[in-house]
């Protein structure tokens, strides 16, 4: 995966969460599945999405939430 795709991927993840804020909770697994579809052209793997999520959460751009199950959310 190129750095460029990586940035696009991270961007897309954050956008996805933002778009559905207060409407749908995205489990990390859901995000992986969404991104696999969205980036199917640029052979993004499950592990790529996972590491993107990791980068986003490590940097605090996304945080984990919990309500009966874990999901990704924007920091408050």
């Amino acid at each position: 995966m190129t750095d460029e795709t990586k940035a696009q991927l991270e961007e897309a993840i954050v956008n996805l969460i933002r778009e559905f804020v207060n409407r749908k909770r995205f489990k990390p697994g859901d995000v992986v599945k969404e991104m696999e579809v969205k980036f199917s052209a640029s052979d993004v793997t499950k592990d790529d999405v996972k590491s993107a999520i990791r980068e986003l959460t490590d940097s605090g751009r996304l945080i984990y939430g919990y309500a009966g199950g874990s999901f990704l959310s924007l920091p408050e």
């Binding site: 207060n22 749908k24 909770r25 490590d58 309500a67 009966g68 199950g69």
Partner: protein, 361 residues
């Protein structure tokens, strides 16, 4: 903290390597133990193929403890076992001694701390329990209070091995069962008996509707709308008061002080010895919460324990004893009432009917 912010955070170091925590005798005899001997309910010796021995002294703990409690333990460990100690899977403490001579002084010191010595062999083991009102939001009863009330009353069975076999008691404060309640010799389970309330404003804002609907074991929650937003409605007659909807949806609180309480379960086990592992079965379908000392719960557990003690043969676990004498007799001698609640009408319930003419008359 000096070493934190800004610098690259260290993560995922995992648990501390246990090798650092093993007593030298254990390290040297790892995997070489030959047999053990239970010397009292409070201590046993394991003998190695090398001839080495390690003594374990077991002490009861309330599990919810203060830092001071742990420091007391550390002091004792430093004094008698080179600082080494462990906890058991049922929250007892074990001091590991290589010197037989240290046993008595250690025990004396433990007594001075008013801690119970026991828990090994055919005893009532320490109760596995959960958080209750101390810490959990879904508790239908308190955990520590019931546990304490029970252990006070069953104390003699912890320090003396007076029972036909091991008796494992567990407590869980709700149907999530954060303990081995579903497979214990005797189990106490916090329960609700009224359906959740529907706080529609909360539901539409805080709850994921599909998960909420999916959370219901009896399909009592159905889609609905409220103020034009997706919400849920409830078929009250189908609700079995499990509280799972509340776990996923804060808008469906289920606590009801008037109707919450506990049920009592018997005859489960997890070991594979002799008989296969088995679920605990419903004995008493409801007892009200009567804090602070839950006398009704204590009495019911005592009733079971007494009947078991009097009726079981040596080596029989509670469930094995009941299977031998039959459930009708169990209900007869305990005086518990058998009701329709006792007949399993849930998913695999049919498999539990008596499909035979084997009936004690």
């Amino acid at each position: 903290m000096p070493d934190v912010s800004g610098t690259k955070r260290i993560t995922d170091v995992g648990p501390h390597d246990y090798h650092d925590f093993l007593h030298p005798v254990i390290k040297n005899n790892y995997g070489k133990w030959k047999y053990h001997e239970i010397l009292s309910t409070a201590h046993m010796v394991h003998v190695s193929e090398t001839g080495d021995k390690i003594y374990s002294v077991r002490v009861g703990s309330p599990r919810l403890v203060s830092g001071s409690f742990i420091k007391d333990l550390c002091d004792l460990a430093d004094k008698y076992s080179e600082g080494y100690l462990r906890f058991t899977t049922r929250n007892n403490v074990e001091f590991l001694l290589d010197k037989e001579d240290n046993i008595e002084p250690l025990m004396n010191d433990i007594k001075k701390l008013n801690l119970p010595l026991g828990g090994i062999g055919n005893v009532v083991a320490n109760i596995v329990h959960t958080q209750g009102w101390i810490h959990c939001h879904t508790a239908a009863s308190d955990a520590s209070g019931v546990t304490k009330s029970l252990m006070d009353d069953l104390y003699e069975y912890y320090i003396d091995a007076k029972l036909p076999a091991k008796v494992r008691i567990a407590f869980a404060c709700c149907l999530n069962m954060c303990g081995a309640v579903h497979c214990s010799d005797i189990a106490v389970l916090g329960i609700h008996r009224r359906p959740p309330k529907l706080l529609s404003d909360k539901i539409i804002n805080l709850c994921e509707i599909p998960s909420t609907i999916a959370s219901c074991p009896t399909n009592a929650i159905r889609p609905d709308t409220y103020n034009g937003k997706p919400s849920v409605k409830l078929i009250e007659e189908a609700c079995v008061f499990c509280g799972n909807c509340f776990t996923v949806c804060p808008g469906m609180p289920i606590s009801d002080p008037l109707n919450d309480g506990v049920s009592i379960w018997v005859g489960g086990k997890v070991s594979n010895a002799r008989t296969k592992p088995s679920f605990s079965k419903l004995a008493v379908s409801y007892l009200e919460n009567d804090p602070p000392r839950w006398p009704k719960v204590v009495e019911a557990v005592k009733t079971i324990l007494d009947a078991y003690k009097n009726g079981a043969e040596k080596g029989e676990r509670v469930g094995e004893w009941i299977e031998r004498i039959g459930w009708p007799k169990f209900f007869k001698i305990t005086g518990f009432k058998f009701t329709k609640y006792h007949i399993d009408d849930f998913r695999l319930g049919e498999a539990t009917m008596n499909y035979s003419a084997q009936v004690r008359q």
